[in-house]
């Protein structure tokens, strides 16, 4: 029963994919949209039934289909594991997935390749489910690379534009750097513990007190490198902002709500390993905090509405890693979920705006859209308040828990996280004021056509806005449903160490004041003073550095991409020809040796005879000496 339900859950989007690939073009856009959305919704419904089941039984479900790969030390089954964590993840992957499919019906309706779009989106959901329910590291890796592939296909969806193709390629390759780390991590764990199955690994690692800590740390670090690639952390984050080249629903689904949180999922899944290696946990916390700050500073100056949201995503993911670094897995998961709600809402809202302005993404050419697009405005406002951490919206609770955890472990990281959060409030309201307030700055033609988006676009927005508003109730301080639900998974309960008291209220107050200060600053600068960000050529000083993202792309280009291409040219033009010439040289040398030898074969019998005699003499002499001595 469970097996067939799992197969329905997994294969429903895959069938949607096949349908859209093979029949999509003939079936027409309406059918494509319905089939695509329905196939994900079926998965959602199945997930719901699993969810209800597990809240009662509290028993994880494992299913092994067949043996896939085997090595001398471990066997890998094609198997699935549905426990509290994977079901929770499935809930929001398929739930938000369904909403975004619904949204895409309208958003992509005018695109001639709508069937491909839905096919890729379905395929993405299929791989994401594989990633989440895989019962071992290698099954997770199938999904892991599969979602990377879909990300590649969707970033480069408008393939006629080579810049978009470059962005797609960059995303895939940067992810693969992380994937190599992931694989090496699997190798180490596999040979150390002779299994890479989550359940058996957990038993093995938890009971192994005398294992070689160094190798466990290296394995954990390798896995974290994988997570850095997928979840866009320093130093592998630069692909995510470029990934905004894809259609906006893709940015919402893949590059904000689901795929990029895979790194957090993986580390949470492997919590038993990371708990054993505090040194790696420290690295994770530091990288998370620094990423959140660096990305937030870049977001302050961006003028492309999607780029602001992209850097915001990187920054929020950094906060989640900060929590992971302290072993506060439930806290990170909580923020993953609330972030999925409000960031998906923000991206879809920005999509609605872009749709309304016929493709315009530059906030300098927006403004005053509040009246024309009231639903988009209100839903985005709620989501912005949520991400800024304003009481009592979802983001307030989750972000607060992260900062509180940080405060109890490391004041410096708490300060960094708090600054990043204040900046978040500022740049989000900068975005809101520039987009929705004051006068419209676009063309007359655009102004004429301003309108609210159709209901297929606004309904998902409304649902997500509601979730962004009330999402916090799943984990309120002191009475957290989420912590109880996830409790069977983790060895340590992180919450118990600090009871809720004065410190916590003070921290909440500080966070709230910070958020309000950020909003206030944005209000003053962009609403009161009506500042419009300068044109590209007029940007100077620190702003220019931030606007150009600290020139990290340029540095990577100069340090990695250029040298490898120069090396390639050098190999092709010099080394290859030299090697080839050497071989030819060898051939020529043989030839010359032969012509040298030919000189002795000139047909003079006298010469042959004398050589013959000399030879005989030499031989006889040799034999004589050999026999005597």
């Amino acid at each position: 029963m469970d097996t067939s339900l799992i197969l329905v859950l997994l294969l429903s989007p895959f069938i949607g994919f096949l349908f859209n690939v093979f029949l999509g073009k003939k079936a027409g856009k309406t059918i494509v949209g319905i089939v695509g959305t329905l196939s994900v919704f079926i998965s959602f419904a199945v997930t719901l039934s699993f969810f209800l089941q597990i809240t009662q039984t509290k028993q994880a479900i494992t299913v092994d289909l067949f043996e896939w790969i085997s090595t001398q030390h471990f066997k890998v089954n094609f198997g699935f594991l549905l426990d509290q964590l994977s079901i929770l993840w499935l809930l929001f992957v398929t739930g938000i997935g369904s909403l975004i499919h619904l949204y895409s019906i309208s958003y992509m309706h005018d695109d001639e390749k709508m069937h491909s779009f839905f096919a890729y989106l379905n395929l993405f959901i299929f791989f994401m489910i594989t990633l989440v329910i895989g019962s071992n590291l290698l099954m997770m890796f199938i999904g892991w690379e599969g979602v990377g592939l879909c990300s590649y296909l969707l970033i480069g969806f408008w393939y006629k534009n080579q810049d978009f193709n470059d962005a797609a390629k960059k995303a895939f390759i940067m992810n693969r750097i992380g994937d190599l780390g992931f694989l090496i991590g699997i190798f180490i764990l596999g040979s150390m513990f002779t299994t890479i199955d989550f359940t058996s690994l957990k038993t093995a690692i938890s009971s192994a007190s005398d294992t070689n800590d160094l190798w466990m740390a290296i394995a954990a670090l390798c896995l974290f490198i994988g997570a850095c690639g997928k979840s866009a952390q320093i130093p592998l984050y630069t692909w995510l902002p470029d990934a905004m080249a894809g259609p906006t629903p893709v940015s919402a689904l893949i590059h904000a709500a689901t795929m990029v949180t895979a790194g957090i999922f993986m580390i949470t899944r492997m919590s038993f390993l990371f708990d054993m290696v505090p040194s790696v946990q420290n690295i994770i916390a530091i990288i998370g905090a620094v990423t959140s700050l660096v990305a937030a500073t870049i977001a302050l100056t961006q003028t492309d509405i999607k780029k602001v949201l992209a850097y915001s995503t990187v920054s929020q993911l950094g906060l989640m890693f900060l929590a992971l670094g302290f072993g506060a897995y439930e806290v990170a998961v909580f923020h993953v979920i609330t972030h999925a709600f409000f960031k998906a809402c923000l991206f879809l809202g920005s999509g609605s705006v872009i749709h309304g302005l016929h493709g315009e993404q530059d906030m300098r050419k927006m403004g005053g859209l509040k009246k024309a697009m009231p639903i988009t405005f209100i839903t985005m406002l709620i989501a912005s308040l949520a991400i800024s951490g304003v009481f009592p919206l979802a983001g307030f609770w989750s972000k607060d828990e992260i900062l509180m955890t940080a405060f109890h472990h490391n004041i410096a990281l708490w300060v960094i996280g708090s600054i990043a959060s204040i900046m978040t409030a500022f740049y989000m309201f900068r975005l809101m004021y520039l987009t929705f307030f004051n006068e419209f700055r676009g063309t007359e033609e655009q102004k004429h056509h301003l309108h609210e988006s159709p209901s297929l676009i606004t309904i998902p927005l409304i649902v997500l806005a509601i979730l962004s508003f009330i999402g916090g109730i799943i984990s309120l301080p002191g009475n957290s449903w989420l912590n109880d639900y996830l409790a069977p998974l983790f060895s340590k309960v992180t919450q118990e160490e600090h009871s809720f008291g004065t410190t916590e209220y003070t921290l909440m107050a500080i966070a709230t004041i910070g958020a309000l200060a950020g909003i206030g600053l944005a209000y003053k600068k962009y609403l009161k003073e009506n500042t419009i960000p300068s044109e590209d050529e007029n940007i100077t000083g620190l702003t220019k550095v931030l606007y150009n993202k600290y020139y990290v792309d340029e540095v990577y280009d100069a340090v990695f991409v250029k040298p490898i291409n120069v090396l390639s040219n050098f190999f092709r033009d010099s080394v290859e020809t030299t090697l080839s010439a050497l071989v030819f040289g060898l051939g020529k040398a043989t030839f010359q040796l032969a012509s040298f030898g030919r000189r002795f074969h000139h047909g003079s019998v006298g010469f042959y005879l004398s050589m013959f005699t000399l030879g005989i003499c030499a031989l006889l002499t040799y034999l004589y000496y050999c026999n005597n001595f």
Binding site: V21, F66, E67, W68, I69, S70, T71, Q72, F78, L138, F141, I142, E145, G146, L149, Y152, G156, Y159, K160, Q162, N165, D166, K169, F172, I173, R176, I177, D179, L180, L183, I184, F187, I188, G190, S191, I564, N565, L567, S568, N569, F571, R572, E576, L579, S580, L582, V583, F584, G587
Partner: protein, 480 residues
Amino acid sequence: MDVTTLLIILFVGAFATYFSGDKWAPKVALLISLAAFAGTICLLSQYNSGQEISYFKIWISKPAVFISFYADGLTLAMLLLTTALIPIIIYSSFGNNYKNAKAFYALILFMTFAMTGTFLATDGLLYYVFWELSLIPIYFIALIWGNGDAEKRKKAVVKFFIYTLAGSLFMLIAFVYLYQKANSFLIGDLVKANLSSTEQFWIFLAFFLAYAIKIPLIPFHTWQAKVYQKAPTVGTMLLSGIMLKMGLYSVIRWQLPIAPLAAKEFMSLFIGLGLVGVIYGSIVALRQKDLKKLLAYSSLAHVGLIAAGCYTLTLDGLRGAVLQMIAHGFVVVGLFLVAEIIYRRYETRTISEMGGIRSQSPKLTSMFMLLVLASVALPSTFNFVGEFTVLYSLSQINIWFALLGGTTIILGAYYMLKMFQHVMLGETNVKIFNDVTFNEGLSLVLIIAVLFFFGLYPKPIMDLISPSLENIITLINRIN
């Protein structure tokens, strides 16, 4: 039925094809190749049910030379690769009209005969004869039916011929020396010959020269790119899909069991050589202007990894290597077919003259993409299973080896996606591009189906090759 039946089908088939005339030759050749495939399947089922399929008979009494054909799981895997690919290669060539088709297709079958013989022979001299015999048909195929300037082509092909022939001569010397020691060419006797470690070193080196040139391993690869470029696509497929596997197979079958001490002593060196090939090949591939040359260098990178896997002398290394040999055989034939499909329409192999094909040919794009994904070893493709196993075996020798070999994951994605982008994507090309024909489509679909089926369920192949490779590992670890 025993393995000689297969050889007879191919040998007689080659002549039958020749005498059937230009018009019928392609069809007859296809039929015979399919018969060979069916024969291999029969042999496989006989082998699985425990029946004897090997053949053993004295050929020359002094020196003692035997007609000894022996098939275990490893051999059968190679036969499956060969006989499954040949029908696809022949069928896919129906889109071209070759002059003097009867000779062309007869040569293909004759080459298949020679390669099959190489995989089967367990008498050193017989093996050597087949090994060299396989060179002759490909020499003519590349020389006569190749493309580009005739003079340049001749230069490249003759170089290839002499180069590989010269390398093989060292192998012959090794066999002659071994005969002195063992009074036999049979592999079973050669393995038992008591060779000192110095002797093993020289034998190992002699074999290595022959194999390194054939596979080819860096720095013995200089013949490869030009010949791949100049040969007709069928020739390139034969070379890259099957013939280079003869070299890798021989490493496992002959070199390692006969000279294990040398293999152990210089293990790191030879693994290192393979890995240098991985990185070097990938980097050179990055900026190739010619599509076929790019694929040639990618092949260099892949076989470098396979060779590194062989030289780990572990069961995982050998298993991964064999899996990867099969997977690479299929994917590389598919990729060269795509190059040919593009050539049939645009008459160019220069990447910069392509681009903007995707919007005109969704079917080709999808299939090409799938092949690219298999080539970069996306999990769920057969290539991933092989690459994973090889990299794992490398990590067991030294984690740095796995890291170096693993760069293929990153660099492979880099050059393949870059190539795909410039060949297929971008603004619609002004030149019209017709989507794949039925013939082309079916060939590609078959290849892709194999790659994904065994990517998800490699167990049948694993079970087939594991016992034979375990035997070889036992031979390698024997105490002299």
